[in-house]
């Protein structure tokens, strides 16, 4: 089964660098998400692995076979890489029916008629689009087109499936539905999925591992939960999670091997790291996820309510703390009057200490 390895892959368009020296190993049967803001090079990376784009430098290995190497001058065309590609706009051929769209690729692989018929029936049933077989793409809704595109991509049984923001053209409800289906599909097809998205929630919920990129540079490559709880730097911390993490400017003074004193928003507390801290710069940023900043009557810290946004299941409360606005999320629906005073507490051991200057994570711990 295929494992995909990218070694020092760089892509330049003229003078601008789209992907900068990327190293990545995509394990067999994993569901990898390439995540990042638009223009970060995630689509380019995907297209380079698929062979639709030629890297400027580097090496790409799929299933032990070098498919691209600038050094050795190898560049295997996309159709010989045994991959499937699901396009953002589906790229269904408008002049062919659903059946013809799916069959076209198979005919080309010299499958016989009976086998094609069989495979298509199987796919149409799997994706629940049997009744649309004779329709043209323009006669289908967005969700149905999406399913046809998936069927077409899956038809030749590719070992690796690439998807480029496949859900971005669907409405919110359909998107959630398709996410569930994609996750099932990953297990059912027993293949490797590489998925591009700019939606961190999609990345969190779908993937086994997330690769977060910014400006062509890999920021962190980890499991979704690790990325959420231990973001490697301020960019990752800010990008992952909604509402976003609270960043509190602080000054630090090391007091012990694992401890230091941090002052922020007029408070001074002791930070206890989960491991020895090493060097601690004076200017630090304290990262606290909104759900770890709880409002409770006996909390030691006082803050005033700036605004309350109840959403039913949870409530986002914007608070004024010191001179800054912080976010707290509490379970259930509570409507705090604006400008009322509440008590806060920092709970748990998932407080994060970052160097303000470099943005790198110093340690995780508790306050």
């Amino acid at each position: 089964m295929p494992e995909i390895i990218l070694k020092n892959v760089t892509k330049r368009f003229g003078k601008s660098v789209a992907v900068d020296n990327l190293n990545l190993t995509i394990p067999t049967r994993s569901f990898i998400t390439l995540l990042g803001p638009s223009g970060c090079g995630k689509t380019t990376t995907l297209r380079m692995i698929a062979g639709l784009e030629t890297p400027t430098e580097g090496e790409i290995i799929i299933d032990g076979k070098t498919v691209f190497s600038s050094e050795k001058g190898v560049n295997v065309p996309p159709n010989k890489r045994d991959v499937g590609f699901l396009f953002q706009n589906y790229a269904l051929w408008p002049h062919m029916t659903v059946y013809q769209n799916i069959a076209f690729g198979l005919e080309n692989l010299k499958w016989d008629k009976k086998r094609i018929r069989q495979r298509i029936d199987e796919l149409l049933a799997m994706l629940k689009i049997e009744e649309y077989e004779k329709r043209y793409p323009s006669e289908l809704s967005g969700g149905q087109q999406q399913r046809v595109a998936i069927a077409r991509t899956l038809a030749p049984n590719p070992k690796v499936l690439f998807m480029d923001e496949p859900l971005s053209n669907l409405d919110a409800k359909l998107r959630t539905e398709m996410r569930t289906e994609l996750k099932r599909l990953h297990i059912d097809t027993d293949s490797t999925f590489v998925y591009v998205t700019h939606d961190q929630l999609e990345a969190m919920t779908l993937s086994t591992k997330v690769c977060l990129m910014e400006k062509g540079l890999l920021q962190q490559y980890a499991s979704p939960l690790e990325m959420y709880l231990r973001p490697a730097n301020l960019f990752v911390a800010d990008f992952m999670g909604s509402p976003t993490m609270n960043f509190l400017k602080a000054t630090a003074k090391k007091t012990g091997d694992c401890t230091c004193e941090v002052s922020f928003c007029g408070l001074t507390r002791t930070f206890t790291g989960s491991k020895p801290l090493g060097d601690v710069p004076e200017q630090v940023t304290l990262g606290v996820r909104p759900e770890f900043m709880t409002i409770r009557p006996d909390g030691p810290v006082k803050a005033s309510v700036y605004s309350t946004l109840p959403a039913g299941m949870e409530t986002t409360v914007k608070l004024r703390l010191g001179g800054e606005i912080v976010t707290s999320v509490i379970f259930g629906s509570v409507d705090y009057p604006i400008d009322s005073e509440v008590s806060l507490d920092f709970c748990g051991s998932d407080m994060l200490l970052y160097s303000t200057e470099s943005g790198a994570l110093i340690a995780d711990g508790s306050l």
Binding site: A50, L52, S70, G73, N75, P78, A91, L92, L106
Partner: protein, 602 residues
């Protein structure tokens, strides 16, 4: 063995040529350079070469010598006002005619475009359909119509009266019948549809919200028009002005019909009269025309290039509220309809009428006969084989030749256009793509007659490049810009993913083209075939220098007949050409949905 490339370079080359788009671009780059730049160099060589015959005798030099003799004759020969008559006067005439014609085209075409897209004008469907007729018909249609309608014994070398004089007894003055005024007017009317297509296209695609936003802010209609609409279409207006100017400058058939009888010369007709006896001087005028053409169109490229963002097609142009013309509506609609009928329908009737009368000037029924169409073995049918044109082997042969040529040029240019469009769009942004894009547009910049002159020079040096071969070659090259335009437009509308979806399952390139790309954009691509076909059918100036005999093509035959004064035959052939062109256009449009106004012609 020594290998000039390292393994890495070889791999790079293999990867480069592994992409069909790159192969296409390289091939086009080489071929187009040979077919446009090489002949251009030849032409400039010809201007300083002494040719055998009168030129060699006049210069007292041997044929083949290099000399500035012709240059001096054209630009600075004071004797008998030679330079003035040969170059400076025709140049001024050309500029005057081109400027007037382009203004007429812009004002008339632009006005109709606005009326059709932005007002509640009556009979819109009829007017917009018939309005493009003069553009589909050959350029000389209106010119010959003008001549047959207004000519009289008092003007030019007048031997007979036209309808106006014969039927109504009105003798129009010379300035009205021949020279500056009718040439400018006829060219203006011919190119007005061109302005209409360009400006109308922009008005139609313009986001109506832009105008509505101003209306919401309580801007009066006329102010919206002046401050919003006009500035937005300004680049298109300017571009149209320049394109029509360049096209009118190189027009040949209109001034030959409406200018020569009174010795009113423009550059193109002057060049034609020089090319046989004084080839050097003829080539110089051709070169001047090319320089003008290239300059004007380079300016145009700059304008449209830098202002492209203006013409954003949002595709969301909602229902715009149309201007209510109120009491003006009916008079305007009726007036336009009358003009359209005069310009597009009456000429055809006139040609039909003129082709059946025996004695010129007498329009009574007893003076009419169908002999000129279907007569057989009649002595007074004096055009050579004593038969009417529909039975004449000579005419039918020319018709066949013309059709064969048109089909060949359409196939070659159209197919090249599809391929060029594919290559240019696939590699968009690369230097090679830009180069090929410019090269494939280059023939458009060349005045037809001058381009013909260049190929004449080339055909004399390249063995085998005569007759049908050279005609087909020049036709294909000259019309490539239309085809590659449609090709590029068609490809731009097609998302790259459509092809990649097939690429990823290993569909070979030719199959992707034939089964995916071409079927999806069928009608756009076919417009790229239609335009060369129709243009070729009605083309005169491009081929006139290159035909082996004037009986080769219908259009050149028409020229010859009209020179010899075989009026009935001339009119009959004229009608035949127009009918064939309209028929081809109609059939292709009905069968494939391709239409001439989808491409941009000259």
């Amino acid at each position: 063995m020594l290998n000039p490339f390292s393994a890495k370079q070889r791999a790079r080359l293999r990867a480069f040529f592994g992409k069909p788009a790159n192969v296409i671009l390289i091939v086009f780059c080489v071929v187009l350079t040979v077919l446009t730049l090489y002949p251009l160099i030849l032409l400039f060589m010809e201007t300083i070469t002494i040719h055998a015959g009168k030129e060699a005798r006049g210069a007292k030099l041997a044929a083949g010598d290099f000399s500035l003799y012709s240059l001096a004759k054209v630009f600075a020969e004071p004797k008998n006002a030679y330079s003035k008559l040969t170059f400076y006067e025709p140049l001024l005439n050309t500029l005057a005619v081109a400027l007037t014609a382009s203004l007429i085209a812009i004002v008339f075409g632009g006005m109709v475009a606005w009326l059709i897209t932005r007002t509640n004008l009556k009979y819109k469907k009829f007017i917009s359909t018939v309005f493009v007729f003069p553009y589909i018909m050959p350029a000389w249609t209106l010119a010959t119509f003008w001549q047959t309608f207004f000519k009289n014994v008092n003007v030019g070398a007048g031997t007979s009266n036209g309808i106006m004089a014969a039927v109504f007894g009105i003798y129009m003055p010379e300035w009205f019948v021949y020279g500056y005024f009718p040439i400018s007017l006829v060219l203006g009317l011919h190119y007005a549809p061109f302005a209409y297509i360009l400006i109308g296209g922009i008005l139609r695609n313009m986001d109506a919200n832009l105008e509505e936003a101003a209306t919401i802010l309580k801007t009066p209609r006329w102010r919206v028009m002046l401050r919003i609409t006009l500035p937005i279409v300004k680049p298109a207006l300017l571009s149209t002005l320049l394109l029509v100017f360049a096209s009118s400058m190189s027009a040949y058939s209109v001034p030959i019909f409406l200018g020569s009888p009174v010795r009113y010369y423009v550059l193109s007709t002057k060049m034609m009269s020089l090319i046989n006896n004084y080839p050097g001087q003829g080539y110089i005028i051709a070169a001047v025309m090319i320089v003008f053409g290239v300059t004007i169109l380079a300016i145009n490229q700059r304008i449209t290039g830098s202002r492209k963002s203006y013409t954003t097609v949002t595709g969301k142009s909602s229902q715009i509220s149309l201007v209510n013309l109120r009491w003006l509506n009916r008079p305007l609609a009726v007036g336009l309809t009358i003009v359209m009928v005069m310009v597009a329908v009456v000429p055809l009737i006139t040609f039909a009428l003129e082709s059946v009368i025996i004695k010129a000037g007498d329009y009574s029924l007893s003076n009419m006969t169908l002999d000129f169409w279907i007569g057989r073995n009649l002595d007074y049918l004096d055009q050579g084989d004593s038969t009417g044109i529909l039975l004449s082997a000579k005419v039918l042969k020319a018709l066949g030749f013309s059709l064969a040529l048109a089909v060949t040029c359409a196939l070659v240019a159209g197919t090249c256009g599809v391929l060029a469009g594919y290559g240019i769009v696939k590699r968009r942004g690369s230097r090679l793509s830009t180069l090929v894009s410019n090269l494939s547009f280059f023939p458009y910049l060349m005045p037809s007659l001058a381009f013909g002159a260049i190929y004449l020079a080339m055909s004399m040096r390249v063995p085998g490049l005569q007759g049908f071969a050279v005609l087909a070659l020049i036709g294909s090259v000259k019309y490539l810009p239309f085809a590659s335009r449609s090709g590029v437009n068609a490809m731009l509308q097609l998302s790259g993913e459509i092809e990649e979806a097939a690429l990823i399952v290993g569909v070979p390139w030719y199959k992707r083209m034939l089964r995916i790309i071409f079927p999806i954009q069928k009608s756009s691509f076919l417009s790229g075939y239609l335009l060369p076909m129709v243009s070729c059918m009605r083309e005169l100036s491009l081929f006139v220098l290159l035909v082996p005999t004037s009986n080769t093509l219908l259009t050149t035959m028409l020229m010859q007949y009209s020179e010899k004064g075989w009026a009935q035959f001339g009119n009959a052939i004229n009608l035949l050409i127009i009918v064939v062109v309209l028929l081809v256009n109609f059939i292709v449009n009905k069968v494939t949905g391709a239409s001439i106004d989808k491409g941009v012609g000259g």
